[in-house]
């Protein structure tokens, strides 16, 4: 009630002022609000003082790919200072209010891990978002012969660990949400089959191994179901099954080649790439089965590799019009925004950053991209070609 009265009084006053302002000079209008437009947002200027060596590298990498730029202390919106001798100690000061946002010292684990933790605290304090500094990715590393292995590493490519040792063609690693476990495709049995691999125990099992193609596993957000591509009924189609490889159900019936299924974060839809009326498109199908709906991606053609953002708002994908580009479209479809050259985008858990592979002098290499500022950085390469990154969520 109080609120209503307040509004009743405030609104006419605001309107009166607005009218007054409008009657005066129009050039006085000053828009302060930050507008976040995909690929066009300005980075947040910060200064970085006192950090050396690996800790400084980690802070620069983590902050750059999360939408920060580095400037002199006088030009900074936030001053980040501290030291990294022995342990990381950090201070963050807001240069406008001249107040310390936070100060913190870190101990234990490695210096690298401490720097990631400090970067995460900076991102949280300044943007309110959970940082990505301590997340992991999985990807395939392929030799020129075609054979390769599945790897997992920190999101910045450090601490790589070889998951498979099969010297076979591998493809499409996918994480189980919230667990140290992945699904992937391996040709190790002489056929592309889908494997489940527990990274804590090292145990693995085959989950889908029908005649023909078994590939592109994608785990439902609650971890209970798997979407994938199987050709067991004579054409590559989208199927679902239980996480343990029981209860297979075919979701698409087209004679075309579907590929790369992914889940909506509410678990209701599965988005995939297909061909409808001779055109390559993105489409979605209810996870329990039903009618297929197109997801328009206007402005670009040949969309593949869709990945639905964890906040449900966006679908990132690869478009191909001569070259490969990373694009983002609202999850319901619409006008696509072209971000940077690259393929196979995978969202970070906070829906702000993508990991992707892109051509670097004839070889595929992994990169991390901040979708709002388009700031992008390559991460270290394992072997001939690193591709198909998947961000652990």
């Amino acid at each position: 009630m109080k609120n209503t009265i307040a509004r009743l009084i405030v609104l006419p006053v605001v309107l009166a002022f607005a009218a007054l302002n409008f009657c005066r000079a129009q050039e006085e209008i000053n828009i302060q609000t930050e507008i976040n437009i995909l690929g066009q947002t300005k980075p947040i200027p910060v200064s970085l003082e006192g950090f050396t060596g690996e800790a400084a590298e980690v802070l620069k990498f983590d902050l750059y790919v999360q939408g920060f730029s580095f400037v002199a202390p006088e030009a900074a919106q936030y001053r980040i200072s501290g030291s990294s001798v022995g342990n990381v100690v950090g201070f963050v000061t807001d240069t406008v209010s001249r107040q310390t946002k936070f100060s913190r010292s870190y101990s234990g684990a490695s210096l690298r891990r401490q720097a990631h933790a400090f970067a995460d605290d900076i991102v949280l304090a300044i943007t309110g978002r959970k940082g990505i500094g301590q997340t992991k990715i999985a990807f395939k590393a392929q030799a020129p012969t075609g054979s390769g292995e599945i790897y997992v590493s920190d999101f910045d490519g450090h601490n790589p660990r070889e998951v498979t040792h099969d010297n076979a063609i591998v493809a499409a690693p996918a994480w189980v949400p919230g667990r140290l476990a992945v699904y992937y495709t391996s040709y190790q049995p002489g056929n592309p089959d889908i494997f489940y691999h527990n990274l804590s125990t090292g145990e693995r099992s085959k989950v889908a191994f029908f005649s023909g193609l078994n590939t592109s596993a994608s785990v439902s957000p609650d971890g209970s179901k798997l979407a994938m591509i199987l050709s067991r009924n004579g054409s590559p189609n989208v199927w679902v099954c239980n996480a343990n490889g029981t209860g297979f159900k075919q979701l698409t019936m087209s004679p075309e080649d579907e590929s790369s299924p992914c889940w909506s974060p509410d678990g209701q839809w599965i988005c995939f790439a297909t061909k409808i009326k001779s055109r390559r498109v993105l489409a979605k199908v209810p996870a329990g089965g039903g009618a297929i709906q197109r997801i328009p991606t206007s402005g670009v053609s040949n969309p593949t590799d869709p990945d639905w953002s964890p906040d449900g708002k966006w679908i990132a994908f690869t478009s191909q019009m001569g070259d490969f580009n990373i694009c983002v479209v609202p999850a319901g479809g619409g006008s696509a925004t072209v971000l940077v050259p690259g393929q196979h985008p995978s969202w970070s858990p906070n829906s702000r950053t993508l990991v992707l592979n892109r051509d670097a002098r004839g070889r595929q290499s992994l990169s991390v991209l901040d979708v709002l500022t388009k700031q992008v950085k390559d991460i270290g390469r394992i072997s001939g070609n690193d591709s198909q990154p998947a961000w652990a969520k």
């Binding site: 075609g146 099992s205 085959k206 989950v207 297979f248 080649d257 009618a291 196979h344």
Partner: protein, 200 residues
């Protein structure tokens, strides 16, 4: 005015018709089901679905984890691959297409007659793509290309249960180049004749 009033229901009816026909378009056309020679259910008793364990994450001991072959009930096991026999009959495809070109029909006839003349032989069709297109898109397209040849051979009287398909997507190019000449060579189905191993 009257005509406009009529147009609205007509457009609405058309939209409904399009929507419903779209919804019911579930019947696959030109699709040959794959016989269940390899079962896919975990728990099927004749399939060794559990592999030798891999390594724990963080363990550096990779010594005993290298690919020990998986036992399988696959009827295509215990076959020798003869890659040379049908190498001359590789067929090629147009960009982003799994349609068999009419110029390739004679190659398919040669493959069919090789199978018809040897009742014990089986066939592996390897579908491949050029490197334009993403990896999983090409993996599916390569499978579609292999299946298209399988369907054509079945129409030509070859028992499809004698034919296995595998897609390598863009992982096994015949030519590593990145120009149209290389792409045209890479968009292909290779045919591999399979003979039973003697003494099995």
């Amino acid at each position: 005015m009257k005509t406009i009033k009529l147009i609205y229901p007509l457009a609405f009816a058309l939209a409904i018709t399009l929507a419903t026909t779209g919804c019911h378009n579930h019947k696959a056309v030109g699709v040959t089901p794959i016989p269940g020679s390899r079962s896919g259910m975990v728990g099927d008793n004749n399939n060794a679905n559990t592999l030798p364990s891999g390594d724990k994450l963080g363990s550096d001991n990779n010594a005993n984890a290298n690919g020990i072959p998986v036992a399988s009930a696959d009827t295509f096991d215990n076959m020798n691959e003869d890659r040379a026999a049908l190498a001359a009959y590789t067929i090629h495809f147009a960009f982003d297409s799994a349609a068999i070109k009419s110029a390739e029909k004679s190659n398919l006839e040669s493959v069919a007659s090789a199978l018809k003349s040897d009742a014990n032989a089986k066939l592996l069709i390897e579908g491949n793509c050029d490197d334009r297109g993403t990896e999983e898109y090409n993996r599916s397209l390569g499978e579609r290309r292999a299946l298209a040849a399988r369907e054509a051979l079945a129409k030509d009287g070859v028992d499809p249960s004698r034919i296995r398909t595998i897609s390598y997507g863009k992982d096994k190019p015949a030519d590593p180049g990145h120009d149209e000449a290389a792409w045209a060579k890479n968009r292909r189905d290779d045919f591999v004749l399979l003979h039973p191993k003697t003494g099995v």
